[in-house]
Amino acid sequence: MTDLLSVEHLSFGFHDRQLYSDLSFALKEGSMTSLIGANGVGKTTLIRLLMGQLRPQSGQIKFMPNMRLGYVPQFRNIDPEYPLSIRSFVQLNQLQHGFPWHTPKEKRQLDAVLAQTHLTARQHQLLGRASGGEKQKAYLAQALLTAPNFLILDEATASLDVNTKTELMTLVQELNATLKLTVLFVTHDLQLAKDYTQQYLLLTPKGHELRRTTEMDESRMPKELRPVTGVQ
């Protein structure tokens, strides 16, 4: 398999502190990778670099020619009074045409994405009143509307209970298999990383490592990432 993304000797920092000085890694097409690291180590900055919102100080970020990126941000301000249904919310990301009305083709695309994310039965539910899991699926569905082949999920499971986490991650796995999506999953949850992704990219102030999750040694992970009941 070819590399969807390769990062070579990337360095970046803000004026008061250097985040990475020689970051190199590659993601294979169709792979699932967890991006883990303590708060403030530069996970969000790395995503912004990948999205082209920031420029590397040196080094290179190379993508496969037909790469289409989808990004599911960490926070959303959806209050209980939010007026739109799940379907209408997801539809907001259909920007290809300028017309206010949606074409039959766009409606079919929307139906397909709602089906892929198991939201068809709940599509007319108000998003503000939907469960945490349904909200996350709606955010995911919205990002999938542009048919990305590289999906970045930023702490998508952070606010969910265990069952909902499992359901969402199973869905992401399904999408990875059926749509050949390459997934970069930002998380603090080592167990989820082990259960659902094949490899992890660990960022620490001292450096980084990209390994298979089966080789993960939790005792070597940054303290705040270890499970509460884990190795001391």
Binding site: G98, P100, L126
Partner: protein, 264 residues
Amino acid sequence: MFSYDFMQNAWLASTFIALTTGIVGVFVTARGMSFLAHTLSEVGFAGAAFAVFLGIRPLDGMLLFTITSSITVGRLSVQQSRREASISAVSSLFVGLGILFLSLSSASASYATTILFGSIIGISRSDVWQLLGLAAAVLLTLGFGYRHLAFDSFDAIGAQAQGVRRNLISIYFLLILAISVSIGAQIVGSLLVFILLTLPPAVAKYLGKTLPQMLVISVVAALIGVWAGLALGYYTNWPVTFFIAAIEFCFYFIALALHRWRLD
């Protein structure tokens, strides 16, 4: 009542006004800009008073003031921490300027009342054409950027993640809002134009589930308000603005009650 020219004009004008404010208002509410709409209407008051002072049409003065100030006022309101104080400061300055221009122009007190509270008598056929042109311009412009504006208004974070150019959308909408405030003030007056920009959309927010539904409900609520207001004003001789405000007020609380009832 349609045998009078002034009633025909008022009817036509209020129809274009309700269409524009009903649609633009949905985005005003979604973007949390009700307060800014209120400030722009006070800026509009100063503009109308300036026009009286110069001897030009009040609508032209309003457009001049609201359009030129909308970007600055909008920028001030972006920073949440300073928002309320700086908008209040701008409001008071413009209300003061409005009073100054009116006193300099030695216009009668009834003229000030007309600008502040609206009037259906003063609308000529040429005003109607101008309103039609402006309403068409606003709605067409809105149509071109509709999807980007909708995304940014209803899911700002998602829009940013998808690379929607938020600054551009913000300026584009401020200009649309400035013109809409000037248009709306022609019937209900600059003091109460925000009724039409906020209450019908609030009704729509409670009753609609999709953006097209919300737009239709908002326009219908605005149309019923202005049409019924005009008819009631005509037969009772009470101010039209009072009826419009009262009708929209009732719609709002009925919609709120329905919304609560549906959720229980």
